[in-house]
Amino acid sequence: MNAELAHERLEQARERSRVASLRPKLVLGIGWTAVVAGILWAVVQPWRLTILHPFHQGFWWLLAEPPLYVVVAGLVYRFLVAPSLVRDLERRP
């Protein structure tokens, strides 16, 4: 009976450990997912990027690069928000 209980607790501890190790990856993955989504969007719809054909474009059209906005948002999250979050997760799993 004691051995069964110990085995059950060991399994629970392993499950907790698996979840704890998955969370940092998910936290970092959010940013990279946005970056990849932005790059894929730029590849699928290159006409949404006026910097690829900048001649005869006004200032606002050169500023408006939606796929790049997605990439930048992903990078901002990945490098400004995620690192401290992962550190806090590792400190308090």
Binding site: V27, I30, L63, A64, Y69, V72, A73, Y77, L89, R92
Partner: protein, 193 residues
């Protein structure tokens, strides 16, 4: 002056950031998220800032009274939702029912989208997105409502994050004149690019 679609893309970027922040909080839990003070203020602060930035949009994109009322109402409810969440994050407000401000914000925003779009769903892409955004926000209000009742609910915060990301995707898809599922009304004008 920038085109209306460009302003939608800028706000889409804001909603995408809001969505990523809410999703991260869902994954790590509110306890870990709140370990650093700056992080607690990040989401509501950005929401409040987007409300402030909506005022110039209201001022400079007033092509009709109903547009002015819609943009003005978004500015007010974004600031109200952001402000109440800031108050909760700072510990100045204590009641969890302050989260109902986010419910109100989503209901008012969704209704404003639905009311100020006078065209039918398949008139053009902007019309379709206005209807879709409106109903998404009205239906999505259930998540902050659930969060007001159960502040630690993963479903509530995760659902809220999903709604924010869906709103961002729809705003990024917006064009001033473009077809939707192959439909474009002859009254909508000529797509420019």
């Amino acid at each position: 002056m920038p085109h209306a679609e460009m302003v939608h893309w800028w706000f889409a970027t804001g909603f995408l950031l809001l969505g990523m922040l809410a999703l991260a909080e869902t994954i790590v839990g509110s306890e870990v998220w709140g370990l650093r003070a700056w992080r607690r203020y990040l989401l509501p602060g950005l929401m409040f800032a987007m409300g402030v930035l909506m005022w110039p949009v209201m001022t400079f994109y007033t092509n009709s009274t109903i547009h002015m009322v819609a943009h003005g109402s978004w500015a007010q409810v974004l600031m109200l939702a952001g402000g109440s969440e800031l108050g909760l994050a700072a510990g100045k407000l204590h009641s969890r029912w302050w989260r109902l401000c986010s419910v109100l914000a989503m209901l008012v925003s969704g209704t404003a989208f639905l009311v100020h779009e006078q065209q039918h769903w398949l008139f053009n892409r902007a019309a379709w997105l206005h209807h879709a955004l409106g109903w998404t926000l009205v239906a999505g209000a259930v998540f902050p409502l659930l969060r007001a009742r159960r502040p630690r609910s993963t479903l509530a915060l995760g659902g809220f994050a999903t709604v924010l990301i869906v709103v961002a995707v729809m705003l990024f898809a917006d064009r001033d004149t473009a077809p939707i599922f192959g439909h474009l009304s002859t009254y909508a004008g000529v797509p420019h690019r």
